[in-house]
Amino acid sequence: MPESNLDVRYVANLARIDLSDDEVSRFQNQLSNVLAYVEQLKSIDVTGVDAAAHAHPVFNVFREDEPKPSLEKSAALKNAPHAANGLIMVTKVVE
């Protein structure tokens, strides 16, 4: 496991979260401690061990592709922060 060189501001941008300077320095400190703690995992030999993505691996869970009633449009729009004319309004994507 590499030495952590966590750059909180860079990662926060990847995660699309603005952070205050205070949060950046606090998280830098706290998360460096957490990463130092998880360093202990590197002493575990995992040669030939498969990764477990789930507790009970299940694959290809299919159902019949049948149309069924789903959420009404009005219900789906109810929680949108900005809706008009039966549509969700979004911030301009193309300049």
């Binding site: 990662v11 575990i44 789906a76 929680n79 922060p81």
Partner: protein
């Protein structure tokens, strides 16, 4: 006995022999909540008139007919708030019922109230709620545990007959232990997650808080089973969880994992659990020393796997379809970044950043993939153990309830509160916490201690049999705190 003191089974008996009606139960609940919740602050919302209407129409011949069940504010109930303890969902109203709610209603139960929690179920003290501090009913200056702190405190304070919570790394069992009630985390895949706001999808599981193990079995019976809407719910027969209750422990082997009795745990917790282990032996169980060699990896693996999954799950909070949207964004990037900055609290941001980091280019193999491989080894620890024993007996939490504010500045110390519960989530097995005594802390004569049993995947009937046998041979489940009326 007051109505609010009844268990779910007691309530059902009283309904069926006609001595009580579901409306009486709602009335009693209302009086009790009004008396104690100003101090405990377990509920974020409740609607007595809607509950009374449902109670008036309840069919008491159904398995949970007319039983009000409190709901953690992370499970969707149509028309009700579902904040997940976060500002980002402050104005959200659930457009549908989660599958567990559909099932509770089918069993005759009345989903009632919204219970406080750590934001997005991230925390061990419920102090990460954006809304209020819930207090431990045994000492109002202490935390109720978390993340399902409201669900645990409500049952302990007898302002709920039973509640639902969710458990990703111990969020049912740890608060149950610290509040002195029963908390059951079913095996992964036993209960549908559809309609549960996702934190870490490979670990999350919904389960009940109750006053007794029998009640936990009754609630599990109602909510368990394959759901076509959750592909990770498994198509396995749902055995009656009450089937083995009342059978004794003769011939059963209980494993004592040496790694769960560590330096640094509270001496009173250790002693109470050791007494409980001897109690199980006197009930006929055979004790077997076992080893779960990768126990010390649990917290590290968890904080990589869970935060990685959280960073992906919480990407959906983009201020577009639901949730908070920042005012007057300059552009799309500003829209995302400010909506999330304003909507999420500190712990959620911290975990999203950690999760994003461990999945980022150059670190994925070293952190995430490596952690998943260690997770395989942890699963194998349990598979090996369950070849020798029927269940594992150990503490639920290394500590008694700590004081509000005591650990909020030290996330790592907070994370270590989950050291005995996390492994069950990583391995997908079932676990239950039951009260096993009291400890003394500064200024507090009685703080509950939890005993944890861990069982094989889908072996809930056996797990409940063992927990029930222990419970019925001890007085602990009959003890409830005296909660003062009025605000803390």
């Amino acid at each position: 006995m007051e109505i609010f003191e009844l268990s779910v089974s007691g309530l059902l008996d009283a309904y069926r022999n006609g001595s009580l009606s579901p409306v009486d139960a709602i009335d009693a609940l209302e009086a009790r909540i009004n008396a104690v919740d100003p101090a405990v602050q377990a509920y974020l919302a409740r609607d007595f008139s809607a509950a009374r209407e449902a109670a008036a129409q309840a069919d008491v011949s159904l398995p949970l007919g007319g039983v009000p069940v409190g709901i953690k504010d992370v499970i969707n109930v149509i028309g009700e708030q579902c904040t997940a303890g976060s500002r980002i969902l402050e104005s959200y109203r659930a457009p549908y019922d989660a599958t567990v709610i559909v099932k509770l209603r089918a069993a005759g139960a009345i989903p009632f109230g919204r219970l406080n929690m750590d934001e997005f179920a991230m925390g061990s003290s419920t102090e990460n709620s954006a809304y209020q501090l819930t207090r431990n009913p045994w000492d109002l200056s202490r935390i109720p545990g978390g993340s399902s702190g409201g669900s645990a405190a409500a049952v302990a304070a007898q302002e709920a007959f039973a509640t639902l919570g969710s458990d990703t790394g111990g969020s049912i069992r740890q608060p149950a232990a610290l509040c002195g009630c029963v908390g059951l985390k079913p095996s992964y895949g036993r209960v549908s997650r559809y309609g549960l706001v996702a934190y870490a999808s490979s670990l999350d599981q919904i389960g009940p808080f109750t006053k007794t193990t029998r009640d936990a079995a009754l609630l599990l019976n109602a909510i368990a089973g394959k759901d076509p809407r959750d592909s990770t719910s498994l198509d396995r027969p749902v055995d009656d969880a009450t089937a083995l209750l009342g059978k004794d422990l003769t011939g059963l082997k209980l494993g004592i994992p040496k790694e769960y009795f560590v330096d640094g745990m509270d001496a009173q917790v250790r002693e109470a659990v050791e007494v409980a282990i001897r109690q199980c032996e006197s009930l006929g169980a055979e004790l077997v020393e076992i080893s779960l060699p990768h126990t010390e990896c649990a917290v590290g693996v968890y904080y990589i796997v869970a935060t990685a999954e959280a960073s992906a799950n919480l990407a959906r909070f983009d201020g577009v379809r639901y949730g908070h949207r920042a005012a007057d964004p300059k552009n799309l990037l500003d829209h995302y970044k400010r909506s999330r900055e304003e909507g999420f609290g500190s712990e959620v941001k911290r975990r999203i950043i950690l999760g994003t980091y461990v999945l980022s280019s150059g670190y994925y193999d070293a952190y995430y993939l490596h952690a998943q491989k260690v997770r395989t080894l942890m699963r194998k620890d349990f598979t090996d153990a369950f070849e020798k024993v029927d269940a594992i007996i150990c503490p639920t939490s290394p500590d008694l309830a700590f004081r509000l504010g005591e650990r909020t500045d030290d996330p790592l110390k907070m994370y270590l509160a989950d050291i005995f519960t996390i492994a069950a989530n990583l391995a997908g097995i079932c676990g239950i916490s039951v009260p096993c005594g009291f400890g003394v802390a500064e200024g507090t004569p009685r703080l509950p201690i939890g005993l944890q049993f861990l069982g094989k995947s889908f072996d809930e009937p056996r797990l409940l049999q063992i927990a029930h046998a222990y419970e019925q041979s001890t007085p602990w489940h009959k003890e409830f705190p005296t909660v003062p009326s009025g605000p803390a």
